[in-house]
């Protein structure tokens, strides 16, 4: 349990320590000053290569996303331009038009550049898909937080017969790939009459076990004395859960909430099977059908992809630290 703590604030403490250690290579090897100098040069070259690799990979990482956004803002004929435009016309010319106050021309250019977005919002039910994704991810996230925190509280702080067995049955399914259950899940959902309802997607999301594991790990670090003291004061189970455990587990809940929202927003295979009517699609399924109908309309496809990606990018940039914490908490040290 103690191992959870250092990883939470690792980036600040340990970085400074390594930095202090870094710039003096081979200190005790005094006398051989040329060796030291050579070492310094080598270190400098090494560091240079390191930066090249880091920056290079950052470019490789971000260029596809950049390309997605710029393609979505290209003028229709610009998409098919050879060589491709790394900065679309609208990016090159709009600032100048705005600065020189040529408003009508600027508006015309903007209208042409956003044509694929206008088409996307007018001729496809993308608003509906966006709403469906929001409903599915929102309900699934709130439900997971409630159910998982309740279960995690019992598993972490209560002693009852069968606790270990019940917990390990649950956790042992973590390794099972989701595709194994694809066919039976289809039958269950179909026989329950849930096909083509958003519940068909939400209910399986609610039954993911990862969160119970993550929150139990988190709640085990909350001192049991708090629970005992509250019991002596006559607090009921519900009060202990809602007034002590949930507030103290807030960082864990935030992490789980964000990870759940992201994974449900991005999930694809199951929604593709469970939802077959266009007005019920989530964004990922909608994008697939958009591509099926407009195979080479890359401007349109990229604007759809951008609409689907933007919310997750915002969520990530806003809550970056929770991602780190969640991955380390859930990943290592059982």
């Amino acid at each position: 349990m103690a191992s959870v703590r250092p990883s939470a604030n690792d980036s600040t403490t340990s970085t400074t320590a390594t930095r202090a250690a870094g710039p003096r290579p081979g200190t005790p090897a005094a006398g051989a000053s040329w060796q030291l100098a050579l070492g310094r040069v080598g270190l400098g070259v090494g560091r240079g290569i390191g930066w090249v690799v880091l920056v290079g990979w950052a470019i490789v990482s971000l260029v596809p996303l950049y390309w997605m956004v710029t393609t979505s803002f290209m003028l229709p004929e610009e998409v098919w331009q050879v060589p491709p435009a790394f900065v679309p016309t609208v990016g090159k010319e709009l600032p100048a038009l705005l600065l020189s106050g040529r408003w009508t021309e600027a508006a015309e250019l903007w209208a042409k550049a956003t044509e694929s977005y206008v088409f996307l919002f007018q001729s496809t039910p993308i608003w509906r898909w966006f709403l469906n994704s929001t409903i599915v991810s929102g309900v699934a996230t709130l439900g997971v937080l409630l159910l998982d925190s309740m279960a995690a509280y019992a598993f972490a702080k209560r002693r009852f017969p069968g606790r270990e067995l019940l917990f390990w049955i649950m956790i042992s399914t973590l390794m099972i790939p989701g595709q194994v259950t694809l066919v039976p899940m289809f039958m269950i959902v179909r026989d329950a009459g849930l096909m083509n309802t958003l519940w068909a997607v939400i209910l399986p999301d609610l039954s993911m076990v990862f969160g119970v594991f993550l929150l139990r790990q988190f709640m085990r670090t909350i001192p049991t004395e708090l629970v005992e003291a509250a019991t002596i004061d006559g607090a009921s189970e519900l009060v202990i859960y809602s007034r002590i455990m949930v507030p103290l587990a807030k960082p864990g809940l935030a992490t789980l909430g964000i990870l759940t929202f992201m994974s449900t927003w991005n999930s694809f295979l199951w929604p593709l099977i469970a939802l077959q009517r266009s007005e019920l699609f989530t964004l990922t399924v909608g994008l697939k059908t958009l591509q099926d109908k407009n195979l080479v309309q890359y401007g349109l496809l990229m604007s759809g992809a951008t609409v689907a990606a933007i919310p997750m990018v915002i969520v990530f940039l806003m809550f970056q630290r929770y991602f780190v914490k969640g991955l380390t908490l859930g990943g290592l040290k059982g």
Partner: protein, 309 residues
């Protein structure tokens, strides 16, 4: 005794109660886990067990019959299964080592940086991971476009011939692999960074006193202590790579021919295009077995000299 409804039973007092009394006394605990457990049984445990039964059945229009291991015989005698297995193994064999290695190199390079630069690179490498795999696959389909795509343009810039990335059966699988290798392993970088942060500084200080070079410190302190993380990432990446599906469906639909058909794509088609549920379930049981064998093998092989404290 009746007043003792404490959360934590006093030692000694439990032993005198029978099991049923104890269960009754702790009934609220079961209520707390009941909603989650009901869903877990219905949508995880039951489907897993049921998958094994379905794999022994054949679904006809009006009835369902037990066919023993027929479905499995059909799996192992079908050419497509072996093609799909080869494609999947090819994908896993390249992407798993590549992604873990890249994550290790990037994390090792990021770790000594100032926290500002560290945050920037961490975000840059993780960003493609937060976008849906459907989105990433759609973008790469555009990048791989033969006439107007970014990749062929770059190839022409450096004087090379254009490549028919997704349209030729020789290149299509490699293109999907290339996409996976070039998309940074965001999770791996984050996990490695966290693991590096929890290595005690005293180890490095001692090594510096002994005159160890930065490389030697990395090689003999950092690397061995990262082994549990490496193991976890390798197992995770293997499980993930054997489930590769979205890029295949979005970029190639398994083609040209069957050159990019993977196991999960085959399961998907068998179940939901051919509606051959028995065969699809048998395929998923085989996939499950393959993944388990790999996971157990990797645990044995990589965890041989890990000391858990």
């Amino acid at each position: 005794m009746s007043a003792g409804t404490g959360v934590v039973p006093r030692p000694g007092s439990t032993r005198r109660r029978t099991l049923w009394q104890e269960i009754w006394r702790q009934r609220t605990a079961y209520l707390f886990i009941a909603p989650k457990y009901a869903l877990f049984i219905l949508f995880v445990a039951l489907p897993v067990l049921w998958a094994f039964l379905i794999s022994l059945q054949e679904f006809r229009i009006f009835d369902t019959v037990w066919v023993g291991l027929d479905n499995f015989v059909q799996v192992f005698t079908s050419d497509l299964f072996w093609i799909a297995l080869r494609n999947t193994v090819q994908y896993a064999a390249v992407t798993v080592p590549a992604n873990v290695l890249i994550a290790l190199v990037l994390a090792s390079l990021i770790f000594p940086l100032r926290s500002g630069a560290q945050t920037f690179f961490r975000a840059a490498y993780y960003l493609p991971t937060v976008a849906a795999s459907v989105v990433i696959a759609m973008v790469w389909r555009w990048i791989f476009n033969y006439s107007y795509g970014l990749f062929n343009h770059i190839l022409q810039l450096v004087g090379l011939e254009r490549v028919n990335w997704l349209g030729s059966s020789a290149f299509a699988m490699w293109s999907i692999i290339l996409m996976q290798v070039l998309t940074p392993p965001g999770t791996g970088v984050l996990l490695y960074l966290a693991a590096m942060g929890s290595i005690p500084q005293t180890l490095y200080e001692a090594a510096i006193l002994d005159g160890a070079s930065p490389y030697a410190r990395w090689r003999h302190i950092t690397l061995p202590l990262l082994k549990p993380t490496t193991l976890y990432l390798v197992v995770l990446a293997t499980i993930g790579s054997f489930q590769v599906f979205t890029p295949v469906l979005i970029m190639t639909q398994g083609g040209p021919g069957y050159s990019t058909t993977t196991l999960v794509h085959m399961i998907f088609n068998t179940a939901f295009l051919d509606f051959n549920f028995g065969l699809a379930a048998a395929l998923s049981v085989v996939l499950f077995a393959i993944i388990m064998v790999f996971a157990i093998f990797q645990f044995r092989w990589l965890s041989s000299d890990i000391e858990y404290s």
